[in-house]
Amino acid sequence: MIEYLLFATFIGLLFHGIHRKVIARVQGRPGPPIWQEILHTLKFSFKETWIPKTASQTLFVAVVFVAIGIWSGALFILLSGGSLLLLFAVYLLHKIVEHGMGLSSGSPYGKFGAIRSVISAASELPLLATVAVIYLFTGSLSIADIAAYQQVHGPLLILAFPAAAAMYLVILSKMHYGPFSIIEAKEIVSGNMTEHFGVWRAGLEVGFALKTYVLLYAFVLLFIGPLPLGLALLLMLLVLISLSFVCAVTPMLSPYDTVTIQSLVTGALVIYIIVLGVVMG
């Protein structure tokens, strides 16, 4: 169990490094080595650690545990073929972690990050639409059933392309340096992560690495189907690189523009769902 979590953490951190490297190369910079994020996490874990005097101390520490906990839970949900709705729940609960991180420190920058993460909560909506579309096709929200459906009917990526696009947008909105990552924009220092340093930051990096792994793996599993681990990792890498390209060439949107765009995408998907519901009876 724990060994798989450690594996996923390292792959996730490696993906973060590759993400940075690809962005740098697209923008014509040399960029950091791809294992930079692993070193980063280790570095943070060796740094001096304490809790800011202004912070709400219990919450400040607890969110780090929750961040790692929910995404390890999500990984097991994926592996054991649990409910897709539960995965969606974890994704939403990640929002609470983001709020908690920023609010608990008392720092104005953290607070700004938290407020922006409240605003950007609209990024959950496309995922709900994705879940609904998948349910329309497969009649089940158990990940195992969805995987079985795809082995019979072919990948959902082709059958339900708009849903895949929505999920892609969802993953994009959670990537670092992307057009939707307003909560960690550099004008508010590190946003909601500003005050989490040392071990706390290392813990958060572990949680985020698991998050990247889970989201990419979920995309492959839900829209392409169950694959051997090596092939799945390769596909995840491809998805990641395409995301990095998007992140590299798009500027960060202003906070409320992200809400508008995500709501519009959801609106388009709702229309698609209604049409689909009528067509499929």
Binding site: S254, D257, I261
Partner: protein, 154 residues
């Protein structure tokens, strides 16, 4: 800033104002209600209601008359009769302690008789004891907020 505002920017500007919130929500409600009115003919009323409202206008107890024997059973339909064996009795909703009191003495009625509001009575008659707890909690919380705001200094 007037120049070159794209449609997305303008929409963002609208939704970023707190004052527009109520209007936006109301618009959404109206849209759904209109859609609902369109689909209204396809919705049929289900006759065999669990919580029926067949009243006897001739009765002096008109709104609350559910028939039955006073202090005895009243024929109340319930979804899961095995969960509420006392349904229809005056003593339907008793806490374990009150149940014990009622079993041993003659001094116990229902626990929730004193609350105002017809809706609670309706619920009481409809085998939905847990709802009364939540319902009164809402009232209690609303009262708590109001009294706190009223009593605080400045």
């Amino acid at each position: 800033m007037k120049t070159n505002r794209s449609i997305i920017t303008r929409m963002s500007a609208t939704i970023s104002k707190v004052e527009n919130l109520t209007g936006l929500y109301a618009l959404l409600v109206v849209v759904v209600i209109v859609l609902g009115l369109v689909t209204l003919p396809s919705i049929t009323y289900y006759d065999d209601q669990l919580y029926e409202k067949t009243l006897n206008p001739a009765s002096t107890l008109h709104p609350y008359d559910r028939g039955g024997v006073p202090f005895g059973t009243t024929p109340v339909k319930s979804q899961y009769p095995e969960n509420s064996p006392y349904a229809g009795y005056v003593t339907t909703y008793l806490t374990p302690f009150s149940q014990w009191l009622a079993d041993t003495t003659h001094h116990m009625g229902t626990t929730i008789v004193a609350h105002p509001g017809g809706i609670i009575d309706e619920i009481l008659y409809n085998t939905r004891g847990f709802d009364t707890v939540v319902e009164t909690s809402i009232l209690f919380v609303a009262f708590g907020i109001a009294s706190y705001l009223f009593r605080r200094e400045t």
